[in-house]
């Protein structure tokens, strides 16, 4: 049976920058994995858990996100009651009549208007395919105030990271932010569950204390006053902490096992429907070990790469180890290796671009090279 919970997704993260890729858009709106944007994974996880009410907390730069999410219909969240709500940072400017927005009051209003028993709050830099039913059930049984998901990644995917020390009963007894050294490899996945009523109390307290920021780890850091249960997640998690991990995670999807865990477990990852034509391969195409999407037209050679929707690779062009986003046009006789091409960029004939595996070249949105 489905869980009685609402979802809150933090669309942005002050601690994470993907350079050119997150400049024109919120972190959650960065394209990832062929047809998707980063937020699609967490949003689908929530929908697949039976959650029917999801609020998206934004900082700024959220036009892309609004365009992507639309009415919420692609996630079946275009509902009369609840459904998908984008909470703009200024949301409460009218609630209080005060011009300088207090984000927390807006969030408080939104959470209060809900009726669910639980709230799940998640950052949007984790890519995983799961449902939260087991997570919530274990939390319920434990009697803890908050449960937080972690895995054993430790600090290996770089900063930002939050490392938990837990006591023998599995409760958080310490949390370290970007530690140099640590005795624990329990790294937070930035996903927590708590009773909605408790969340209301916590937000009210934050407001009373004059705090203005809200987040998963602003709650987990209260481990000395709250009983915070650490819940280990053993499935696949891709962490998007910076451009390097973004590029590596994209390349990991070429692995059959990674794709199987992320896409073929029976829980679909939903995304905005684009109604592109099928991908068309010409006589002259050579493609191997690559992910390609609808609307692509392939006349050249594509190896070890990830192509989003509507990409054109012209004749005699060679693409190797690249991530190429929506509607990019690569002209004839180009050679690209270890390159990330953002949306709508155009590569003119005969261009050669070669990055390093650990330092991919990033071409910004709409650039003409």
């Amino acid at each position: 049976m489905f869980i009685d919970a609402m979802g809150l997704i933090l669309a942005d993260n002050n601690k994470i920058s993907l350079g050119e890729l997150s400049k024109p858009r919120a972190l959650a709106a960065v394209p990832f994995g062929g047809r998707y944007r980063i937020i699609d994974y967490m949003l689908s996880d929530m929908v697949n858990s039976g959650i029917k009410s999801v609020g998206i907390l934004t900082l700024n730069k959220y036009k892309s996100l609004m365009d992507h999410l639309g009415t919420g219909a692609s996630w079946d969240l275009d509902r009369k009651t609840f459904g998908l709500h984008i909470l703009p940072p200024y949301v409460n400017s009218e609630a209080t009549g005060v011009e300088d927005a207090e984000e927390l009051a807006g969030i408080l209003d939104y959470v209060r208007s809900n009726r669910s028993a639980y709230a799940i709050i998640a950052n949007s830099n984790m890519i995983l395919n799961t449902t939260f039913n087991d997570f919530v059930e274990k939390h319920e049984q434990s009697g803890a105030d908050v449960s937080v998901m972690y895995n054993r990644d430790g600090t290996k995917y770089g900063i930002p990271n939050y490392i938990f020390d837990v006591d023998r009963k599995g409760y958080v007894k310490d949390m370290l932010f970007n530690p140099q050294k640590t005795t624990s490899n329990r790294c937070s996945l930035g996903i927590i569950v708590l009773r909605r009523e408790l969340l209301l109390d916590l937000i009210a307290e934050m407001i009373a204390r004059g705090e203005r920021s809200f987040g998963v780890h602003a709650i987990t850091k209260k481990y000395d006053t709250l009983r915070i249960r650490a819940h280990e997640y053993k499935g696949l998690v891709l962490r998007i902490n910076n451009v390097q991990t973004y590029f590596n995670s994209s390349m990991m999807l070429l692995d059959d096992k990674v794709r199987a865990d992320l896409f073929w477990k029976g829980m679909p990852i939903y995304t905005k429907v684009k109604d592109e034509a099928p991908a068309l391969y010409s006589d002259s195409s050579t493609v191997s070990n690559s992910i390609l999407s609808d609307g692509c037209r392939i006349m050249g050679s594509v190896t070890n790469s990830m192509l989003f929707r509507g990409v054109t690779i012209s004749k005699n062009s060679k693409i190797h180890n690249c991530v190429i986003m929506q509607d990019v046009h690569v002209s004839e006789n180009c050679e690209l290796e270890n390159v990330i091409l953002d949306k709508n960029s155009v590569i003119r004939p005969g261009i050669k671009l070669v990055g390093h595996r650990d330092f991919p070249v990033v071409i910004g949105k709409g650039a003409i090279v």
């Binding site: 109604d275 099928p278 493609v287 992910i291 999407s293």
Partner: protein, 420 residues
């Protein structure tokens, strides 16, 4: 329902028996086409793109797949509060009940539905044609010419004219005569089965036709000739562009191949006239190291480890290592196991082609599956939801039908699955 200028009615009721096992469990308009689509996506998308928001889908035969496919109409933006897409099955009235007899009778039985919309014009469409057409332009011409009915026509090669319903026209393309499959055609204007009627004219004609016990209650055979006889003004609307009736196995195969050989004609890449479809919610497709994909159309969820040449693959098709798929049409969820070879095959939903199977136009042999009535030009058709035995041989012009009683030695069907 809201008052609207024009209502579209899509005739989706026929069984489509000439498509053989492909329509055993689903109505013809719900048959997959062109990698991403079902046949009915074309008229539905044409309506959406033409700004027509009230669409009745007349279904009768195996409507479940069609019903769930059309669903709330959302993919075609037809989930409107006033209007939208309506599935219209036959029903019981106080004291009587009838299945649909002919195309005209199907509309006749739904005249209350049309009346409720209070339209001035009714657009009649077929559910089994592949084409892109702006009905709004046709309607504009219909209004400007003060016609009672406007029939979309296509100029066909003269030698093919005897296969079509041909319209003989005079000045300003006013129709003088309708001739079904003329031996010696006077014109090469073929009716496309796309009609706009002024509703009050059609309404009267339908009632008159219904009262004629000798009528077949068919638009082409009865309604159009009746209106001509009554001196009504029928005008031809010339359409140019890709159009194909996909009512037979060979025309369905050809239309799929046209997407590869003449992609510019139907031009699915045109973003100003998208063909919408219900999305399968699968990841982007994957082509493995060592795979060969050429001259083909693929879509979400496909995983290719073998060779795909000059073929159209629907979503979630898997072609294993060493398998070869040529000149074929694979419907959603088909798996082609290692070492199998398919040539000019149309394979239904979720069927598993066993290891080392050899099937298609280039394969010779004699089996009870050979079916010249359904298949031609060597095309092999395989029913949905089957596991074809490993190393089975299926020669040209076979239709693999699980209901066919065959000698165990000749049986190629190892298992029959339920397909959702």
């Amino acid at each position: 329902m809201a008052k609207t200028d024009v209502v579209a009615m899509i005739l989706a009721g026929g069984q489509g028996a000439r498509l053989g096992v492909l329509t055993k469990y689903i109505a013809k308009p719900a048959v997959p086409f062109g990698s991403r689509y079902r046949i009915i996506d074309f008229p539905l998308s044409n309506c959406a793109n033409s700004g027509i928001e009230t669409v009745g889908v007349l279904s009768q035969y195996q409507p479940l797949a069609l019903n769930t496919y059309v669903g709330n109409g959302h993919p075609w933006d037809l989930d409107r509060n006033n209007g939208g897409a309506y599935i219209l099955p036959p029903y019981q009235r106080s004291g009587r009940s009838d299945w649909y007899k002919g195309t005209a009778n199907a509309i006749y039985q739904n005249k209350d539905f049309i009346d409720d919309c209070e339209p001035q014009y009714v657009l009649i469409l077929s559910g089994d044609h592949i084409y892109k057409m702006n009905y709004a332009r046709m309607l504009r011409d219909h209004i400007q010419s003060h016609a009672d009915a406007t029939l979309a026509v296509l100029e066909v090669p003269w030698e093919e004219a005897p296969r079509f319903g041909i319209l003989n026209t005079g000045a300003d393309d006013v129709i003088s005569e309708f001739v079904e499959k003329p031996k010696n055609p006077e014109s090469n204007l073929a009716s496309m089965g796309v009609y706009i009627f002024t509703w009050d004219v059609l309404r009267k004609a339908l009632i008159e036709d219904e009262n004629d016990p000798s009528s077949n209650n068919d638009f082409g055979k009865n309604i159009v000739p009746m209106l001509l006889k009554q001196g009504k003004k029928l005008v031809a609307y010339r359409f140019s562009g890709y159009w194909k009736d996909v009512g037979t196995i060979s025309s369905l195969w050809e239309a799929n191949m046209d997407l590869l050989d003449r992609p510019e004609e139907i031009n699915l890449m045109d973003r100003s006239w998208r063909i919408y479809s219900r999305n399968p919610v699968k990841p982007s497709h994957y082509i493995a190291d060592g795979a060969v994909v050429r001259n083909s159309a693929l879509t979400d969820g496909c995983q290719i480890f073998g060779t795909v040449e000059h073929s159209v693959l629907s979503n979630s098709v898997t072609v294993e290592r060493g398998a070869v798929v040529k000149d074929s049409v694979l419907m959603p969820g088909v798996t082609v196991r290692a070492g199998a070879y398919l040539n000019k095959c149309i394979v239904g939903f979720n069927t598993i082609i066993g290891e080392g199977v050899r099937a298609g136009a280039t394969i010779e042999g004699k089996t009870p599956y050979i079916n010249g009535k359904i298949c031609s030009e060597g095309i092999v058709v395989i029913e949905r939801g089957l596991k074809i035995s490993d190393h089975a041989v299926i020669p040209a012009n076979c239709q693999v039908d699980s209901d066919l009683e065959v000698d165990p030695a000749e049986n190629v069907v190892e298992e029959v699955f339920r397909v959702v």
